[in-house]
């Protein structure tokens, strides 16, 4: 049985990571899931969160927002809209992400009044961002959410 699989993390501007991994924990849109080698083929969208990758050199963490993950026979490709290694992540980046999400929520509220769909989506995006910030130990500017 194969005990490692190819793991690729790419964002539109660059390839963030590419190596062999033994397990990958993905923040899927419908909940966290861990993919190990020989996982059934699956495509899932992502919510903002932390990607845990167990490789030969221990566990690496990556921050991802949006996009999707494709789990196939050959390995896992994560295509994230924005993606940073945990060590690259800074308060400024988080603030920028949260501001963008907050902006989107404001617009959604304005544009669709009380239509629950877009407003809920935007609110969820924002709270996911804040939760992600808390998880990695960076404080978010808007604590009252």
């Amino acid at each position: 049985m194969a005990d490692t699989m190819q793991f690729d993390l790419v964002s539109p501007e660059r390839r963030v990571a590419s190596y062999k991994a033994t397990a990958v924990r993905i923040p899927g849109a419908e909940g966290e899931l861990t993919a190990m080698p020989l996982h059934a083929p699956l495509i899932t969208t992502l919510r903002p969160g932390v990607l845990h990758v167990e490789g030969e050199k221990g566990t690496e963490e990556y921050i991802v927002t949006g996009g999707f993950a494709q789990i196939g026979a050959e390995g896992i490709s994560v295509l994230a809209e924005e993606s940073y290694h945990r060590d690259e992540m800074s308060q400024e980046i988080l603030d920028r992400m949260i501001d963008a999400a907050a902006e989107r929520q404001r617009k959604a509220v304005e544009a669709s009044h009380n239509d629950p769909g877009p407003v809920d989506d935007a609110a969820k995006l924002l709270s996911d961002m804040v939760a992600m910030g808390n998880h990695i130990g960076l404080s978010s500017k808007q604590p009252s959410l």
Partner: protein, 293 residues
Amino acid sequence: MANLKDLKNRISSVKSTRKITKAMQMVAAAKLRRAQEAAENARPYAEQFAAVMSQLAKSVGDSDSAPRLLRGTGREQTYLLVVMTAEKGLCGGFNTNIVKRAIQRIKSLQADGKTVKIITVGKKGRAVLRRAYGDLLIDHVDMTDVKRVGYGDAQEIARDVLNRFDEGEFDVSYIYYGEFENTMTQVPTEQQIIPATFETSEEEQKGAGTVYEYEPSEEAILADLLPRAVATQIFAALLENAASEQGARMTAMDNATRNADDMVEDLNREYNRTRQAVITNELIEIISGAEAL
């Protein structure tokens, strides 16, 4: 015969022009390398994205539940052309070629009685299109302040295009950009972005046999990813365009430098000949003066 001083002035003016074109060529070469790198880095994402999208698009197909971005509006009346050109000139026929390609399409669409709307990205294309089709221009994206094209820039354009689509402003959309082949050749390219189309290479089709599970449903994923696909395509086009622009400029400036070289050589020859003629003339005057005595 041209006066010596004039010739000298011309030579020095051509020489300083040559310095400028040479410098521009070197700057373009450096920028080209960076632009190519950026385009290279963006490729894995774009390719994998397209592969997944084409799979999804195939399995959802033309069913009524397919998102409008994929299916189209069912009409083909109004066309939106997004024409991407450079912000600066002095890059040979690069801008002109892209605009020409777009104008060709505009003419054929108008001949068929379709409505055409244009969004320009980059100042140079706008200047030309405004003269010919000023009333069709609906928006302009200024990239003057953008030093390095980022995904954010593409997202902004995509958002604008998608908003217009949602409001029913157009049915079909094309983008125009220069595809980078090598530093000598840039191919003006037309690509349809709405309704979305995805090219599949043969290699991807081999892998298409895998049956994926989707979480959430296929339709939901597709609806989430289609707008991103538009942004991704625009981003790829912007990067190609940036690389093409620098490539075209490098070639154009290389030609200009060589031209200046030739010109300096010709002018030098003429200068020397004129100088010799002047000396001969003076000698003749002295000798004939001496003989007369």
